[in-house]
């Protein structure tokens, strides 16, 4: 903890909120105040007076995992529709008013949540809250089929641009289909299928809004050069009379069966084949989640990592290699992928990946490898403290921690998870989760060349 003592001193220096807050020393903290309106909207306020900007960040606790069969991609389509105007804000005015005030905005959707932000000069806070409140409270009166159709077209183009027209872009949905059973909410990708996007109706929009876009299913984080009492008054003014919605109930997800090795081949417009290994692991903030992050760093984080060194640097049989733990709210997975160089086949790559996993299972990583990963993580934590707005800024992180662990200022506790990881824990995690007989092995190969897929005998 002494390593981040400097951070504390600096952060203390800029905390000058309405009520003075006593902070414990030696920690990475984002002081905040929180309150909940009678309609259930929870508000989190963080003052940072270093730059005259403000960030408003709204999380709706709904994502693609809440979608119905036949409507994959709907949560994300809905995110787009939220920008199409509301009762008092005609179509297009949301963006125009914000830009005219020097602000920017965006939204994003994951399996678990949908978030929206507005960033801009500190004086624009009333406008940001006015706009966000209008679409939370008054979206449906002005909703039309034309608006839905328009954003359906935009989202279908987003799917084309980011997935279909991008090499290897359809790998992820092919992995999810095989890693999670059909009745599991992570079985399909956030972007959804073209057919399901096409099927979405105006009535779907109404239903979804009434069910999920309620103040009691949202949290609002405000961070920047504002005072907590101003923020509170403005929130009360604009959101206070929005009615509470129905209570949310979610059924627990079905278990994910351990299914042995599942092999799949995807032909794509690529010249170089790529192999993906995917394992079912644990959800975010589970005891082993941070350990798996460190493991991913040891395997493929940078050019001194084990797989990069073997595959790209020494053997020169791959152009790249990537590994990551993807811990979401109700479940998690771990992936490794590598792309073959011309003249090399996926079997060679898979053998080396398995060799390296075997070595880690037998001997574990070195203490230095773990410390290196921890230092990288710590530096990332510090850099994320620089910005109040945008995706991953302080306002967004307060909402993230609040939803995932119930404590907005979880920064220090989160960092401590990584500091506690030991080489022995990484070794246990390799053995427990990355077992070669229990994974999805997806080969992405050039069109018409399925024979370039990883062969049966290449993996144990």
């Amino acid at each position: 903890m002494t390593r981040i003592a400097t951070a504390t001193a600096v952060l203390l220096g800029l905390w000058s909120a309405c009520p003075p807050v006593r902070l414990s020393a030696q920690s990475l903290r984002v002081p905040y105040q929180t309150f909940t309106l009678p309609n259930g909207l929870q508000v989190i306020v963080h003052e940072d007076h270093s730059v005259p900007v403000v960030a408003v960040n709204t999380w709706y606790h709904v994502g693609s995992s809440d979608e119905k069969p036949g409507r994959t991609g709907f949560a994300h389509l809905f995110e787009h529709i939220m920008f199409m105007g509301s009762q008092h804000v005609p179509t297009g005015e949301f963006d125009r008013l914000l830009e005219a005030a020097g602000g920017d905005n965006n939204g994003s959707t994951t399996e678990d949540r949908t978030n929206y932000y507005e960033d801009g000069p500190a004086n624009a806070l009333p406008l940001m809250l006015y706009l966000d409140a209008d679409r939370m409270g008054f979206l449906l009166p002005e909703m039309t089929v034309e608006k839905v159709d328009l954003q359906r077209g935009v989202v279908q183009n987003e799917r084309r641009q980011s997935y279909e027209n991008r090499p290897y872009g359809l790998a992820e949905e092919n992995i999810l289909q095989r890693l999670y059973p059909a009745n599991h909410p992570y079985h399909w990708p956030v972007i959804g299928s073209m057919a399901d996007l096409q099927a979405a109706t105006l009535e779907d929009v109404r239903q979804f809004f009434r069910t999920y876009y309620t103040p009691n299913n949202a949290t609002l984080a405000i961070a920047g050069d504002i005072t907590a009492q101003d923020a509170r008054q403005l929130v009360q003014r604009y959101f206070g009379d929005i009615p509470r919605g129905p209570a949310m109930t979610r059924t627990p997800p079905p278990p994910v069966p351990v299914a042995g090795v599942v092999r799949a081949v995807l032909e794509d417009r690529v010249q170089l084949p790529r192999v993906y290994d995917a394992w079912h692991t644990v959800k975010a903030f589970s005891p082993d989640d941070a350990t798996l992050d460190v493991l991913a760093n040891v395997l493929a984080g940078g050019r001194s990592s084990r797989l990069y060194r073997r595959l790209v640097y020494e053997l020169q049989i791959a152009t790249d290699v990537v590994a990551f733990q993807d811990g979401s709210r109700i479940d998690g997975k771990f992936e490794v992928y590598a792309t073959a160089r011309p003249g090399h086949d996926l079997g060679e790559l898979q053998r080396v990946i398995d060799e390296e996993l075997g070595k880690l299972a037998d001997q574990g990583p070195t203490p230095r490898e773990v410390e290196r990963a921890q230092n990288t993580v710590e530096a990332q934590f510090l850099s994320r403290m620089e910005r109040v707005g945008g995706f991953g800024g302080k306002a967004d992180q307060l909402n993230y921690y609040n939803y995932f662990v119930g404590t907005p200022d979880y920064f220090q506790k989160d960092l401590e998870r990584y500091r506690r990881v030991t080489p022995a824990a990484v070794q246990r995690a390799v053995r427990a989760y990355l077992s070669p007989p229990h994974r999805v092995v997806l080969s992405v190969v050039p069109q018409g060349k399925p024979e370039l897929a990883v062969k049966e005998g290449a993996t144990p």
């Binding site: 309106l37 270093s50 027209n165 170089l272 001194s304």
Partner: protein, 480 residues
């Protein structure tokens, strides 16, 4: 209002008695905003070391991190004509062993320090940068100094990176956006211009990369005179000067050749459509433009306003038309590419294959309209407010501030540029916008590049009758 009384009880962490006034919500119009905060940007201080290295320091003490960017006059515009890609390859090679460190040691040390180490080259210059927690700054600067001043360029590492690049060039051809980004400058500038070749070279040039050419390029251009080092973050000028002088003070001056001036006049052909076939593509990647002004033109402020109206923001005309009105694309934008020599103007989008011709119609309509009709007062005011009021946000992080000051240093712009920025943008009139639109956007000379499925889009494009169709390969070169 009925909620006001109940609110207090529900507050989880009590607020002090800051007062709570009930007000009637008027949603019929957006709230009147208080005046925007005064523009107060971090100051830049400079000093020059005896060997000619300029040091610029921006103090930002909010978070204990430091961003260091060393800018070297060793960009790809200096690539010998027989060796396109040499500048970027040299920048890559800096990290492949330096001082007493092997290639793997360099990577290991950077990761161990939690430092993001980068070496890269664009056309106008090369850079070596490091972003690191303050308490690791000294060790990180040791690493940066090794990488910049003592690269090994071992034959074995040259061969390794050469082979990797050869494979990456294969991969690059599968990516339609990468193809467009390489082909478009090749078409606009022509292959003889310093900006006309691919940044990462060609297959044949890559095969020829060798230690001698890399070492010679390095010896010639990696010199402190003409280089600038920018330090942004939790440091003082005195501290930065001490740390930098100790490591870069002994860097030897050299006679760096003058930046190339384009001896060969770039082609100024009549409007032409260039088609690169990408069978089966779900979208067509579109680039429309031509040569543009140098970054240092006094017209740059008017050009920024113009581009914000046309294609620089979400509510800009191109995006409103092609995305928000017609749904042809996920986003349509435009840019004046800032360069030391002639820049470029480019309008761009990826559009659904079936609407490729319709998209070109809308692009050309907007690109003509911005010249023909003066912009409306509200549209002008919105663009100017977006640029000026949004400025403080760009200086919030060390990386953001570094990017802004780096632009000034790279183009030799005055370091007090942003002190006058607000006034200069505010002074731009609708007549200025129309004047620069007519001067710097010329639809009669557009190069229109489309990377897409020829069998599906060719006849539609032909029917537009907006110029001859010429077929090009993935490098933007004539098909032989």
């Amino acid at each position: 209002m009925r909620a006001a009384a109940a609110l207090v009880a529900l507050i989880l962490i009590a607020f002090p008695a800051c007062g709570l006034s009930a007000q009637v919500v008027d949603r019929s119009k957006p709230p009147q905003l208080p005046p925007p905060p005064a523009l107060k940007l971090p100051a830049v201080q400079t000093t020059v070391l005896p060997n000619g290295l300029t040091l610029a320091v921006v103090e930002m003490h909010k978070v204990p991190v430091v961003d260091v960017q060393l800018l070297i006059d060793a960009g790809a515009a200096r690539d010998p004509s027989v060796a396109p890609g040499l500048a970027t390859f040299t920048a890559t090679m800096l990290q492949q062993g330096a001082g007493a460190r092997s290639a793997l040691d360099v990577a290991d040390e950077a990761a161990f320090l939690g430092a993001q180490l980068g070496t890269a080259a664009g056309f106008d210059g090369a850079s070596a940068s490091i972003h690191v927690p303050k308490r690791r700054l000294e060790a990180a600067l040791d690493l940066l100094a090794d990488v910049v001043l003592r690269p090994a360029f071992a034959d074995s590492e040259i061969a390794r990176q050469r082979e990797l690049r050869a494979a990456q060039l294969v991969q690059q051809r599968d990516e339609p956006v990468s193809v467009a980004n390489i082909a478009f400058p090749a078409i606009v500038y022509g292959r003889e211009h310093p900006y006309g070749h691919p940044l990462n070279g060609t297959d044949s040039a890559t095969a020829r990369l060798a230690r001698e050419s890399v070492a010679e390029f390095y010896r010639t251009y990696y010199r402190p005179n003409g280089a600038r080092i920018l330090v942004v973050g939790d440091v003082t000028l005195a501290e930065a000067r001490r740390l930098i002088a100790a490591r870069f003070g002994g860097w030897e001056r050299g006679d760096v050749p003058a930046f190339p001036s384009p001896a060969i006049a770039p082609p100024g052909a009549a409007r032409t459509v260039y088609l690169i076939d990408k069978p089966g593509a779900a979208q067509s990647v579109v680039r429309i433009g031509h040569l543009g002004p140098v970054r240092t033109t006094p017209d740059w402020f008017a050009l920024e306003v113009l581009n914000t109206i046309l294609g620089g923001a979400f509510t800009s005309r191109l995006n409103q038309n092609l995305r928000e009105t017609r749904g042809y694309t996920y986003g349509a934008f435009s840019q004046f590419v800032p360069r030391r020599l002639s820049g470029a103007f480019v309008a761009l989008a990826s559009v659904v294959t079936a609407k490729t011709d319709s998209s070109l119609i809308e692009f050309l309509k907007e690109l003509r309209r911005i010249r023909d009709d003066p912009v409306a007062p509200a549209e002008l005011a919105k663009a100017k407010a977006y640029l000026t009021l949004g400025l403080p946000g760009d200086f919030e992080t060390t990386g953001g501030a570094a990017a802004r000051f780096r632009e000034l240093l790279s183009f030799g712009l005055p370091l007090d540029y942003y002190d006058r920025y607000l006034d200069r943008i505010t002074a731009v009139t609708a007549a200025d916008v129309q004047r620069v639109a007519r001067q710097y956007i010329d639809p009669d000379r557009f190069d229109i590049l489309v990377v897409g499925d020829k069998t599906q889009i060719e006849s539609g494009i032909k029917a537009l009758n907006e110029g001859p169709i010429v077929y090009r390969d993935v490098w933007g070169q004539e098909i032989r």
